[in-house]
Every structure is written in C-alpha cells, then in structure tokens.
C-alpha cells in the first residue's frame, strides 16, 4: 500500500514540474496601478474565506490573491519602456512614470530658523545679496579660474614663496607667519560666529513660551511673569513689583515638598490617632466620608438644575426665552428657596470639605 502511494506521489511531482505555470489572471474589476510607487490597488472584494478566522485555507487563499495581484503588477511593469542600463551588457531597466500618490511626510516640516546676526544687519541696512560669478579671469594664467578652491585664480596660497614687507612694518617680522596667523584667526572667528548663530537659534526655540504672544491666559502670563522675576542674579529677591501685582505669599513649608510629623511630638495624640485608625479598620461597616457625601449631593443638584434648564430652553426657543426671562428668574428663585435651606446646612461643611479636597 505504502509503495503504491509513493509512486503516485513521485509521478504527480514529475508532472507538476513539466506543466508550465499560467500567467493568465482573471479579475472581475480592473486593478488601479500607480507604477511610480510600484502600487497596485485591487477593488475586488476579497473571497469570503479570506476574511474569516485564521486557518490553513485562509493562508492559501491569501497567498493566491497576493500571487495574482503581483502577477498583474509585473505584467504592467513589463509593458513600460525599458532600456539597457550600462550599454548592451547591462541589466534591463524600466523607466517608471511619475508617482501619482503623494505620500505624507514622515516627520513634521522643519521650523524656519531665526536670522543670523549678519542677516539681521543686512535687513536693517537694506543690503541685498549680489550674485557673484563662479569664475574669475586670472591674468597670470590667462584663463577663467574658479573664485576659490582647487586651481583658484591668484595661485595656491600655500605655495606663496614671497610675502612683501609693507612700508611701515617691522623688518624682522615674519610676514608669512603673519599671513598664516591671520588666516587661522579668520577661520576661528567664522567658526565662533557660526556657533553663536546656532546657539541663538536653539535658545529662541527653547525660550519661546516666555515671550508674549497675545493668546495667553491669565494663569500662563502669571507663571511667565514669575519665572521672569526669578531669572535675575539674586533670584528675584530685589526685584520691584509692578503697581498692581500682589505680594508673593511666603510658602508654608519653606521649599520642602514633603512634611512629616515631628519625631518626639505629642505622643498621646499619636496614640489616639492610631487607635482611631485601628477602630476604623476593625469595624465592619464602611465609614461615612462626609466630604464625599456632600460633594456627591451638590453634584447631583447641579446636574438636575442643568438638565431642567436645558429642557426649558429646548422647549421655548429664542423668542420664548426672551419673553420668559423675568418669570423664569422668579420661578428659579422660588425653586431655589427649597434647595437653599438644604444647601445652607451643608454649605459650610461642604465648602470646607471641597476646599480640603482641592
């Protein structure tokens, strides 16, 4: 039995090898191609089995789908105008058209950098950039040479063998050394200015929130003003206050954020507190938290009032609202009387409770 099966398998495999694989693909709807991005979009709905849960059948279906679509894309690519890359022996290369889909940016666009010192000065003075020619006529060599760089006009400065001593200079001074030193200084100065411009650009980016924009809230401005006051050498100790600025209240804990009980404080009170804690833990029923109960009550009342107001508004409409303004006030006052008595009882405790929570 096993031997027969093996033969069958081998025969089938041999047949498979010889049969040519088809390049024909049948699709209901045509695919959309964006050859510039090597993209093929298949608008056909996928076979139902491919959508249902994982399994070998789903895998094979998806694989077949992928193969078919890849076949179609490859067929299209082969239709493009092709050429040989490096002459006759090079690989066959297809010229792709411009991509149709514009892919979005991966990262946000760069921020415009602040102008450098020179740019600021130039803008102020109205100096505009004059385009220079890249080649200069070299009289010595009688040809156009580049302005700077390899084979520049005016000869290689490193091979200058003569440096004249100018009229008023010290005859013992080494002029070539002076030239070299001057060049080094120029390079260093340029580098320094470049770094300074860079630092300025970074600095302004970091300190942006501290400049008034016109869209800042009162709290933000207050915070910024506080930061600005403290940013002095004495950390704001001798900084005069603005006319209407309130005095800074001294912080309760003197800069410390966590405070602990005293080591040898009132031990009797501590004992009392611990016993209270233990009693609370050992008792079975949950303790009533006054603060939470009061806040919950107030929230419910506010929600009721808001719901009632919203319903009234929806019913009456614009004109009705204006007409109903006065009677509405009266009824609101009357309605509140009943709640006010209830509230007043709880307000002192509730107010205190709320403050504690905040």
């Amino acid at each position: 039995m096993a031997a027969v099966r093996v033969e069958e398998v081998l025969a089938a495999a041999a047949q498979e090898q010889h049969r040519p694989r088809s390049v024909q693909v049948e699709k209901e709807l045509e695919l959309e191609f964006d050859l510039g991005n090597l993209l093929a979009l298949d608008p056909n709905p996928p076979p139902a089995a491919a959508l249902r849960g994982a399994g070998p059948r789903r895998e094979s279906q998806l694989r077949a789908l992928a193969r078919d679509n890849a076949q179609l894309l490859a067929a299209r690519l082969w239709e493009l105008p092709a050429e040989r890359a490096d002459g006759a022996a090079g690989p066959l290369v297809a010229r792709l058209p411009e991509p149709a889909f514009r892919l979005p940016r991966e990262k946000p666009p760069p921020r415009p950098r602040p102008p450098t010192r020179w740019e600021q000065f130039a803008r102020l003075k109205g100096i505009r950039r004059r385009k220079r020619t890249s080649l200069v006529w070299d009289e010595q060599a009688k040809e156009w040479r580049r302005r700077w760089g390899y084979r520049r006009a005016g000869g290689d400065p490193a091979r200058a063998w003569l440096a004249e001593v100018p009229a008023g200079a010290d005859p013992e001074e080494d002029q070539l050394a002076k030239l070299r030193r001057a060049k080094r200084e120029r390079v260093a100065r340029n580098e320094l200015n470049r770094l300074r411009n860079l630092a300025r650009a970074h600095r302004s980016a970091a300190a942006a929130p501290l400049h008034p924009t016109g869209h800042q809230s009162r709290q933000e401005l207050g915070l910024v003003a506080r930061v600005a006051r403290v940013s002095t050498a004495s950390l704001g100790r001798f900084q005069p206050r603005l006319p209407k600025e309130p005095a800074e209240p001294p912080s309760r804990d003197g800069g410390k954020k966590r405070r602990f009980g005293p080591l040898l404080g009132d031990l009797a009170a501590e004992r009392g507190r611990q016993l209270e804690l233990l009693r609370g833990m050992s008792s079975k029923k949950p303790a009533l938290d006054i603060t939470r109960a009061v806040n919950k009550q107030l929230r419910e009342e506010d929600a009721e009032a808001a719901a009632a107001k919203g319903k009234k508004r929806a019913q009456r409409g614009k004109r009705g609202r204006r007409q109903q303004q006065r009677p509405g006030k009266r009824s609101g006052g009357g309605g509140k009387k009943g709640g006010a008595a209830r509230r007043q009882q709880q307000r002192p405790a509730g107010g205190g409770g709320r403050r504690k929570k905040a």
Partner: protein
C-alpha cells in the same frame, strides 16, 4: 530628624501607618493593646525603611544620636520593601504572638522544615483556627504552643481539609530559625 532624607528617622505617615498596621491587623484585632499600653507610651518609628517599636524613653535617647550613626532602635517590627509593601520580621514575634487571632499548629515532624524556611505542607499541618480566610496572616505554633514564626494562609480552613497532602497550606514569612540563619542581617 524631621527632614526628608533617605535615612531619616521619622514618625509614620498615615499611609505607612495604615499599611503596616493593616498587616499587623491581619494577625489580629488586639493589636491596639500594643499601642495602648498601661505601662508606658510606645510608638512606631520609621528609620531607613524599617519600622521600630520603641518606648518613649528610648526614643528620646535615640533622638540625640546622629542620623547616619543610628543603626536600630527598640524592636524592629518589619520593613517597607522597595515597592512599599510591608514585610513583618521575626523580631516582632514576641510582641504579636500573644495577640494572634488566627493560629496554625504544626506537627513535630515538619517543625524543623518550617524553621529552615520552608512552607508548611498539608501533611505537616496539625491544627488551624476556624474561619481562617485565604491569604490571612497567621502565627505558626508548634504543638507545644511555642510560637515559631509568621506565615500567610495559602488556603482557607475549609480548603485545607479538602486539599492533597503535598499542597502548601501556609506560606512561610518569618521564623525563629532566622535568629541563627540570618544572624548578621537581623536588626
């Protein structure tokens, strides 16, 4: 001594108080007798993440020792681990054992095993207090009513009856054998 530094000796904050008293409370409700003693004022102090039970007299003396030089004071009840969980230590046994509400008695054969730091198996379980909940803190006793250490009940009393002999019924937490084993590290 009130400033916040990693080695400060300070009173427990409410949350710390709660967590370590809760743990002790899992031992029993009579813990208030530790706090409310007729023969003096005792309190808990936190020093270098360890909780010490000190008398007022001793505390006043310890207050004059520099913070960095102070190793321990009074009796160490346990420590707060890195993740702020409270772990009872064996040095609290003499104080907490009399007030234990949930007790577990261990057979003579597996006493030794517990004292070496192993958990208590069903086969070594002698008696267990009725109504012990699962994960309840318990005090482990020998059959002669000598307290051996602390543990946590792995199974409630009902489950203990049904489970097979090789199952763990009490997780080991601290035992008196640590006095010998961890002699150097006990405070």
């Amino acid at each position: 001594m009130g400033t916040h530094r990693s080695e400060q000796c300070r009173a427990l904050t409410a949350s710390e108080d709660g967590s370590d008293v809760t743990f002790s409370c899992s031992i029993g409700e009579n813990i208030q007798l530790l706090v409310d003693r007729p023969d003096g004022t005792y309190c808990f102090r936190l020093h270098r993440d360890r909780v010490y039970y000190v008398s007022e007299k001793l505390l006043k003396g310890a207050a004059s020792i520099p913070r960095d030089s102070l190793v321990a004071l009074g009796t160490c009840f346990g420590k707060f681990t890195k993740t702020q969980k409270f772990r009872l230590s064996v040095t609290a046994l003499d104080f907490l054992a009399p007030y234990a509400k949930y007790k577990v008695w261990v057979k003579p054969g597996s006493e030794q095993s517990f004292l070496y730091g192993n958990h208590v198996l069903k086969s070594g379980l002698g008696r267990i207090t009725e109504n012990t909940a699962q994960y309840q803190g318990v005090v482990v006793y020998s059959m002669a009513d000598i307290p051996l250490g602390f543990g946590v009940a792995a199974k409630s009393t009902q489950d203990c009856r049904k489970v097979d002999p090789m199952a763990i019924v009490v997780f080991h937490q601290a035992d008196v054998g640590e006095y010998v084993r961890s002699e150097d590290t006990l405070t």
